[in-house]
């Protein structure tokens, strides 16, 4: 551990252009330590008292920062909602990232943990909270524990930081599930209201924010909203981390300005490795989009909306034309059905049924009936769970039926599907594929 500079030895310059979050990443894959972090970004501006807290919330509002966990909710509105409650709030940093095709949050935690912690501390200080809990998967625990120890040793923060390993199931990251787990219960979603901002950890008003969101907040606290808006669009400002995988030369996590054409992101990854006709955009609650239209689209919710898509979990998978989109989606549908928290009847029975329907189409035989079942069942499942798990699965399956319509015809007609590749492209965690064969 190198010495932490007492005074900044040089003027800290806000990063111009990209990258913002991943700028200091070391070549050896190890985390940036506290000294190197402070050399790069400078010390976080102190937040003491109500007025500077209000000022930070105002800066976040002016920056137009939206949550980076999936829903894109305005961060300032969430901060204000927590601040308006009675009682001392708690901050929860959501680094669970249970989305199999997404690794951006794990990458951020692994490489620049102090940027995330800066954001957690700033948000907590702005709300008058004195505790921030970082919830992560097992793989991120050691880096976070070490980073927190480093900060404690150098007395960096007035906020108590702790790290907790959360279960690595798909629904554990849903914020009511995470709160339930932190309160000693199972990591299962609860019926709302109350929402976490009303009653969360230990019954206190709780701010739950994704790790990337807080990393951006840390930079807004330092460099201000005008700087934040120099990247991105007016409606969706800033940069964003995206996980790109599938048939690209260099799959991985990329930082792009929001509104960048998808074509440019694919080019950054070295282009496609083979012909690609469709991409999954937004993770497993996302939508399949035809490649021709998607490549021209801007990577923003506004840019993807005309195609019926959204950024969602910011995971994008390029499907090789040699793979079967129906079979790929059926596999994921089975996974999502198995990952249902098992609490709500429509989700338990409905997701299992639609996953079987899709598998029926994919494997041929009874395809026509399976398609009729799907058309009846899919619209019935939307909004029927305590959380949005069924809604997300329905969106994915419905988009597969749209985008792979010609393939569905081939399967239902029991003719040969145009796919020849057998290797699955969309990842499904091993423990389930082992059980399910």
């Amino acid at each position: 551990m190198s010495a932490v500079p007492r005074r900044e030895p040089r003027r800290i310059v806000a990063p111009a252009g990209l990258p913002r979050l991943l700028g200091g990443v070391r070549g050896d894959g190890r985390p940036v330590d506290l000294a190197a972090h402070l050399l790069r970004y400078g010390r976080p501006p102190p937040i003491r008292g109500r007025q500077s807290g209000r000022a930070l919330i105002g800066a976040v509002a002016a920056a137009g920062l939206r949550g980076r966990g999936g829903a894109g909710f305005p961060v300032a509105r969430k901060l204000e909602a927590v601040a308006a409650q009675k009682g001392r709030p708690v901050v929860v940093v959501n680094g669970t990232e249970g989305e199999p095709p997404s690794t951006k949050d794990k990458a951020l935690l692994a490489y620049v943990p102090h940027l995330v912690l800066d954001g957690a501390v700033a948000a907590a200080a702005a709300l008058g909270a004195d505790e921030a809990i970082v919830a992560v998967g097992r793989a991120s625990h050691e880096v976070l524990a070490r980073a927190i120890a480093e900060r404690r040793h150098h007395h960096v923060d007035a906020v108590r930081l702790s790290v907790v390993v959360a279960p690595e199931t798909f629904v554990a990251g849903e914020e009511t599930a995470l709160i339930n787990f932190l309160n000693g219960g199972p990591a299962l979603p609860t019926f709302t209201p109350p929402r976490p901002f009303e009653r969360g950890v230990g019954g206190a008003p709780t701010l739950v924010q994704n790790v990337e969101t807080l990393a951006h907040l840390a930079l807004i606290a330092r460099f201000g909203p005008a700087w934040f808006r120099t990247l991105g669009t007016a409606e969706e400002p800033g940069s964003a981390l995206v996980t790109l995988s599938g048939a690209v030369q260099r799959p991985g996590v990329f930082e792009v300005g929001l509104g960048t054409p998808l074509r440019d992101l694919v080019a950054q990854a070295g282009g496609f490795t083979e012909r690609v006709d469709a991409l999954l955009v937004g993770g497993y609650f996302g939508t399949w989009l035809p490649a021709a239209a998607a490549l021209d689209a801007a990577l923003s919710d506004a840019g993807l909306a005309p195609l019926g898509g959204a950024l969602g979990a910011r995971a994008i998978v390029a499907l090789p034309a040699t793979s079967c989109g129906i079979l790929e989606t059926a596999r994921v549908a089975r996974y999502l059905a198995a990952e249902s928290a098992g609490q709500c009847g429509p989700c338990v029975h409905g997701l299992a049924a639609v996953a079987d329907d899709l598998l029926g189409i994919a494997r041929g035989g009874g395809g026509a009936e399976a398609r009729r079942n799907l058309e009846r069942r899919l619209p019935q499942l939307d909004g029927r769970g305590a959380c949005r798990h069924p809604d997300g699965a329905v969106r994915l399956i419905a988009s597969a039926l749209r985008v792979f319509a010609p393939e569905v015809e081939l399967h239902v007609g029991q003719r040969r599907c145009s796919a020849v590749a057998k290797r699955p492209i969309l990842p499904v965690p091993a423990r389930l594929s082992e059980v399910k064969g």
Partner: protein, 85 residues
């Protein structure tokens, strides 16, 4: 304030009594779980709505402000399982 019927899907076991008592607003899916209309309960059905609420063996049915059902207007409508459609 207009109110709509709302089922707590975690508590609901699909007994199905509600759909018999107020079929105008509640239908059952193929597994026997209620599909509840998000529309405000009209005055003429208020009595039936109350009876359906009272009849639920697990107390899963309630009246909630109809506005609350209109989507992602409250903070915290997010997380992995929470993107708006």
């Amino acid at each position: 304030m207009s109110r709509a019927l709302r089922v707590n899907p975690i508590v609901c076991d699909g007994h199905g009594l509600c759909a018999e008592l107020i079929p105008e607003l509640i239908k059952l899916d193929e597994w026997g779980y209620p599909i509840v209309s998000p529309a405000p309960v009209p005055r003429r059905l208020a009595k039936h709505a109350k009876r359906a609420i009272a009849a639920c063996p697990v107390l899963a049915l309630q009246l909630a402000p109809a506005a609350r059902l209109s989507g992602a207007s409250s903070p915290g409508e997010e997380g992995d399982a929470g993107q708006p459609l």
